[in-house]
Amino acid sequence: VSADTDLAIDGPALPDLLATPTGRTRAGRGRRPQSIGEWVVLLVLVIFAALFLVPFYVMITAGFKTAAAAGVDHMWRLPSSLSWSGFSAAWTALHANIGNSFEVVIPATIISCVIGSLMGYIFSKLKFRGSNLLFNIILIGMFIPYQSILVPLVRFLAAVGLYGTLTGLALTHVVYGIPITTLIFRNYYAGLPNALLEAAQIDGASTLQTFRRVILPLSIPGFIVTGLFQFTNIWNDFLFGLVVVPDPSKQVATVALNNLSGSLTVNWNVVMAGALLAAIPTMFIYLVLGRFFVRGLMAGSVK
């Protein structure tokens, strides 16, 4: 594999993109601690882990409590009997919004990944004069505080008839997702040997043909990583959802959850259960496909 030197904006190259997640430095299943030092490390980690899990404990137990059992005086108590009432009330309040979120997230994730892979391919393998500079100019788009583009964004969406629609929100996420997806794919393709592309060129394949027949089939790991990363980002967005789609019936899950939380008539345990429901899709991704998620995380961080 030709080591591409162009990894200053650093990310995992092809060989290790699907390897074990970062940090698993020593192989093996582990063993019992043998020295006092090893016990201390383990004990401190157990304490930290317990502290980190406290909010999850509250969310889960709250969802199983009935309204009557959910007084603020016994937040920490386990539910006396298992009831779904917290979760079912939260589901009633949020299920339509969770559906809206999916309606935005799925197309926006797919489209921004496809565009990102095309852009990443060109910025890594078919450089032209000024392409590095152009790439960096595009890249800055992922850092800007989105507050500084909201008013023109709303005007633009209104002008094309997409303000207040989920399509408009998806379009917004696609465009502002391009810098990060381009970055991840660019780093990913930088790890592909140039010989592959040269072979395709000798066979007379055009740029697009090379992309379709050579690059795309090799991109599945890249699509998984970028897709999960984008899914999480877009699902967790709040500001765009809040500003682009104000209509309560069309709101996405994060916006509706925040409204539910601000409502004085809703019991706290329903809010907690709702927080868990709104988090389930990204939690699922993390739990089931965690190693890909960590890869995306590291690939998406400009180091």
Binding site: N236, W268, A275, S301
Partner: protein, 356 residues
């Protein structure tokens, strides 16, 4: 006739050849510029959505547009909105909060990440489990964590209830001390005041209406942010640690250093690039902070947890003070750019130098 036909045929063939040569030439030209053509639409879209829109926001920020009806006429002097913005005691409080929050969070968040990474790197069992637990909150939305921590820091329940039910408060009471009952995000206290000292150094600063100290209400937000993003810092440091050869630590130990000393003197200095990267990422995340505060505490009592992100939203979409909101968002942008551009420029220069 026959001659004519053959002549015609030759003519047509020649024309065809010329035609196809031209087409080949055109298609070769297209093919040569194909990379640019393929990225052009998306690049143009991003350039408009990022740079075009920022340009428009800058125009709004120096305009007279401060009600529902659009008015893009320039104010005079053009910086009037910015001047009023910096004289607004709420925005002053926002900048103070942003500064204090960023400093506290950068310190606590990276230290937590480094500590967890070193522990996870060295634990002999369940390494994957611990790493997953600490990174888990990162998968959540800031709104989810804001909503949950809002209840955990509600003075009537949550953490304060824990002080009661675990007997911490009875023990304090028995010892003749005051029970713990902090107001968390409802506490308007600002500790310390630099106003007097600053005004002595530079008299115009006595105009600052906000008290320049540390708002206690920011502490719960630092805790929530550390809970959510500490795992990310851990993942970064774990990646850094995995590049430190084991022999380095062994060699230090042979020279008589303890593990702690080996880490302090040798390993942690080697993690410098990771530390810088984490600080930059946390820096711009923190300067943009909005959702977490919005859901956890909102503006807080006396704007003690207000941040520019919330200010922009309120001014623009609630008060329709478009020019003020735009000016505040430009200030946010400048702050983020001041953190990101030097870092990107360094990376970019490295890139150009590497490309041989």
């Amino acid at each position: 006739m026959a001659v004519d036909t053959s002549h015609n045929t030759r003519d047509i063939a020649a024309k065809r050849a010329a035609h196809s040569a031209r087409r080949r030439r055109i298609s070769r030209t297209i093919e040569r510029h194909m990379p640019k053509l393929l990225i052009a639409p998306w690049t143009i879209l991003v350039l408009i959505f990022v740079y075009g829109f920022i340009g428009f926001t800058v125009v709004v920020s120096i305009s007279k547009w401060n009600s529902f009806g659009e008015n893009l006429h320039q104010r005079s002097p053009w910086y009037e909105t910015y001047k009023q913005l910096f004289l607004d005691s709420r925005f002053q409080a926002d900048l103070r909060n942003l500064f204090i929050f960023t400093v506290l969070f950068l310190f606590v968040g990276t230290m937590m990440g480094l500590l967890l990474a070193i522990l996870v790197h060295n634990v002999v069992m369940a390494r994957g489990f611990f790493r997953s637990v600490f990174l888990f909150p990162y998968a959540l939305s800031f709104i989810v964590s804001g909503v949950v921590w809002r209840w955990l820091f509600n003075p009537e329940t949550g953490v304060n209830l824990l002080f009661k039910v675990t007997g911490v408060n009875s023990a304090l009471h028995a010892a003749g001390l005051k029970p713990l009952h902090p107001g968390w995000t409802t506490d308007p206290t600002v500790v310390g005041s630099l106003n007097g000292a600053l005004a002595k150094v530079f008299p115009p600063l006595k105009e600052i209406g906000a008290q320049l100290g540390i708002p206690l209400a920011l502490i719960p937000i630092v805790i929530a942010a550390t809970w959510q993003l500490g795992g990310f810092a851990m993942a970064m440091f774990l990646a850094g640690l995995s590049t430190v050869p084991e022999e380095v630590i062994e060699a230090a130990k042979c020279d008589g250093a303890t593990t702690v000393q080996a880490y302090r003197r040798i390993v942690i200095p080697m993690l410098r690039p990771t530390l810088v990267a984490t600080l930059v990422i946390f820096g711009y995340t923190s300067l943009k902070i909005f959702d977490l505060v919005f859901a956890l505490s909102g503006s807080g009592p006396g704007f003690s947890t207000d941040v520019p992100g919330i200010f922009v939203y309120d001014e623009t979409f609630r008060a329709f003070q478009y020019n003020t909101g735009a000016a505040a968002s430009v200030v946010m942008l400048v702050l983020v750019v001041a953190v990101v551009i030097p870092y990107l420029a360094r990376t970019y220069r490295g890139q150009e130098g590497d490309a041989t």
